[in-house]
Amino acid sequence: MSTTTPTVSEPATPSPRPSRTEGPLGSRLLRAVLTQRIVLLAILIVVVLVTFMVMDAGDYLTAPYDPDYLAAALINAVPLAMLGLAELLVILSGRGGIDLSVGAIVSLAGMVFGFMYGEWGWPLWIAIIATTAFGALCGALNGFLVSYIGFPALIATLATFYAFKSLAIVINSQRPISTPPIQDLFSISRSVELPVIGRELPNIPLGIFTLLLPTVIVVWLVLARTTYGRRLFAIGTNDVAARWAGLPVRDTRFKAYLYAGAISGLVAVVTVAQFASARPDAGVSGSGMALPAITIAVLGGVAITGGIGRVSGVVLATLLIVWLNAGILLAFVGNEGSQYQLLALGVVLVFAALLNGLTNRRFTGAR
């Protein structure tokens, strides 16, 4: 299972501490919950689902919290999980890697997509590829500044966040683009019935299959099955050692930002389709898209110091947040619900971060 991560929690040589296969069941379980983020997330998802279903049965919710509702809520998981994966790549690359600009790239690339598909009438698939390439270009700027010039990632992406955000608003004089082709794009985000077994299951939003699943699989393959993935873990774990081992450190880190930008470009297409309009502030309105994405990554067990993180963790963390938010929306009347989503996100993030710190000290002997 842990082929994707060089987790320090499992020492290669037998240690004097009891390994995971020994000891009483209770302590083994506790150990698994604390050290394996996947286990913890799975338990939390079950807790959330059971809690809201019990509340639903007791008629505390404003609408039924049933499989249909849960499936429909998955549409929110598409941008969130994809940007979470973008942050995963960047944070994995180490040396304080973080990308604050993903939301701004979504806005800007969305406007570019709006022009290409909505105004200039390019074919859809060319427009999507061009938008992804444009996102990659924005990411390449981040990567260039961070990797080749040596900017701290926080600063470089803060600066490009400002720049992209401003350009996205100015490029069409603050007006959204919602010409007929863009409006028809809304059909991408509709729900479909699965073939063969579809009758037994609720309808799933189409975006899950067309964009999210391919991204998840590609990112997983890149991280777990390619030389590039191993290099990324290596430079994130120890920059200097990786350089002495002859790895192309700068090139590897540069590409992490480039890929993150490309994923943001794809998210821009999803967002435009979801709103049926290319909005200049799509990725930065409110608290923006970058902060939830970073939250998802951290909650999914990605170490902010780099070199530790898994695709499955990010996906499960997304499911947890999406279904938690969906439940909260039903538990409160009016916009109270969206406020309590902030509370839940904050509490979950602080809790996850403290737990990361605790398990690092308790089970790896660090510090």
């Binding site: 803060l158 600066a159 955000k165």
Partner: protein
Amino acid sequence: MSVHTDERPDPGLPAGEPPAARPTPRRRVLPSPVSGQELVLLGVIVVLWIVLAFATPAFFTAGSIQPLLVATAPIALVGIGMTIVIITGGIDVSVGAAIMVCAVLTAKLLVDAGLSLLPAVLVSMAVGAVLGLVNGVLIAYGRVHAIIITFGTANLFQWLGLQIFASKTVNGIPQTFDVFGRGVAGRTFGVPHAFLITVVIAALAWWYLRHTAGGRHFYAIGGDANAARLAGIRVQRRVLLAYVITGVLVGLGACFTIAQGTSTLDQSVGSGKELAVIAAVVIGGTSIMGGRGSVLGTLLGALLVQTVSSGVTQLGWNSNLSDLFVGVFIIIAVGADLLRERARRAR
């Protein structure tokens, strides 16, 4: 006060060591009072002001400069705290949300309880201190990276602020805070009080960071927390203090923000301020890696950011363009610093 120990001979040197063995005797422990970056920054601001004065004659009038200074004050003030936090190697992205909590609570107290000036300011600062304490405790004792914790608390504070708003704007705020800068009552020799207070606090912070042992501890922690701990600094308490100081300044900054606006306070108050503050600090030459930075630079950085956004508006350009310039200035300021650092190491 144990002031910097400039001229004391190095006890580690053997007594018979000839003085020539030390190539360039480094007399100063402290960096020079004004760094090169700060001078450049000052130059850039002066040039910008001159250019703006020629481009739009209205720029150099009191009616234009005074609002600029009033708007600079909260950014610079919170920036002072942020400078200390970043010097310790941390960061606080929750200040925007914290400003909202302090501002809405204070505004409500002004409207509902009719609080007078001093109690209102004190309450706001106390609330800010509590919020800073939450951050500080979690970061210093939870030993989690500051950016993660403050992302989390930013959400919590935002929820708290929205709860206090209760889905309504706060209307009819009395003119208690006018003394901070709106109208004639808020100015001395034409300078808004909010800006004067900020300058005084910046001067105090400058002295504290530069000339007291406690202030130097922040730099030591940012340079190497482990070494600082072994040198006998109570690292956790110092880090905690940095966030509480920021919280108190956020409280005061929230009062300035109320004074700056109209008699209504809506839910967008404070949003995005955290990035503006961090931009000001970074443009001012404070290193995000910790261990280096100054309050003077932050003050100039805030002034530059505000000059840019005010200038863009007055030139009649799209006001959203100012963010682009802020981004470019961040790249230039930090990039120049990086290149200088590289040149220094190559020597």
